[in-house]
């Protein structure tokens, strides 16, 4: 169980597919059920899509993590884009500034176990999500 760490540069919509495939592969390697691997891959897809839509480029980093008695996967989504002015608003269902996506962040929060976001206008956005193996 040494899946380690994988970083995927996100520069185009094609990279969204690569990131979620690598995420699914790592989840499978860590022993996640196929259903949970689907949730993880879907969350990665949404996070990578936010990067492409709002920041144009950034990265997704996947890490295996070890809790006290459990194994998990951590997904770190980083960009240097415009940042989010009102995070609380961005976490409400139905909110979107691009007019097309909108479900991204609150949906990702429901798909995963832990969710953290930091963002400053003009400084980019960092989202860290974790899922623990059942």
């Amino acid at each position: 169980m040494s899946a380690g760490e994988i970083r995927v540069a996100i520069n185009s919509d094609q990279d969204i597919v690569i990131a979620r495939q690598k995420g699914r592969a790592m989840a499978a390697e860590l022993g996640f059920s196929s259903g949970d691997a689907t949730l993880i891959a879907t969350a990665i897809s949404e996070l990578a899509r936010n990067i492409v839509s709002y920041a144009r480029k950034g990265s997704i980093t996947l890490k295996s993590i070890q809790g006290s008695s459990r194994v998990g996967i951590l997904v770190l989504a980083e960009d240097d884009g415009p940042g989010i002015l009102d995070i609380r608003q961005a976490l409400r269902d139905g909110f979107s500034t691009s007019g097309s996506l909108g479900l991204g962040l609150p949906g990702v929060r429901r798909l995963m176990d832990d969710f953290e976001i930091t963002s400053q206008p003009g400084q980019g956005t960092t989202v860290v999500v974790k899922k623990w193996r059942q």
């Binding site: 495939q21 259903g35 891959a41 897809s45 909108g102 479900l103 991204g104 949906g107």
Partner: protein, 120 residues
């Protein structure tokens, strides 16, 4: 990645692959509507059995495809959404409102055959 579109009588069958990018989906959206016009198709079956992730963009594109095809006077049936994908879609809050769905290709064809038989 090219999505194969098969003509089956009055219906078209589009089979989605696992690793479709946004650009592929956009390309397919236009392609499908053009084919519906070209072949005067009554309905389109979109088979997503191979899709392992249905995120917000993919489901929005499917809804748009269905709406465009409806404006053309034809019907869309989405078939083959995998149970795990359905679960993830519900968690994410994605819906395919107003779009017919069926278990698999066979059920989708049966649904359309029944529908167009009673319509005639």
């Amino acid at each position: 990645m090219e999505v194969p579109i098969l003509k089956q009588g009055a219906f078209l069958i589009a089979t989605f692959q696992a690793a479709l990018s946004d650009a592929d989906l956009n390309h397919l959206r236009m392609g499908l509507v053009q084919q519906v016009v070209k072949f005067r198709s009554r309905a389109v079956i979109v088979d997503v059995t191979a899709m392992d992730v249905m995120d917000s963009f993919a489901s929005r594109t499917l809804r748009e495809i269905a709406h465009m095809i409806r404006l053309r006077g034809a019907e869309t049936v989405i078939v083959g959404i995998q149970p795990e994908v359905a679960f993830a879609m519900v968690q994410l809050g994605l819906t395919l409102e107003g779009v017919a769905t069926a278990l698999d290709l066979e059920e989708g064809l049966a649904y359309l055959n029944e529908k167009f038989r009673t319509a005639n």
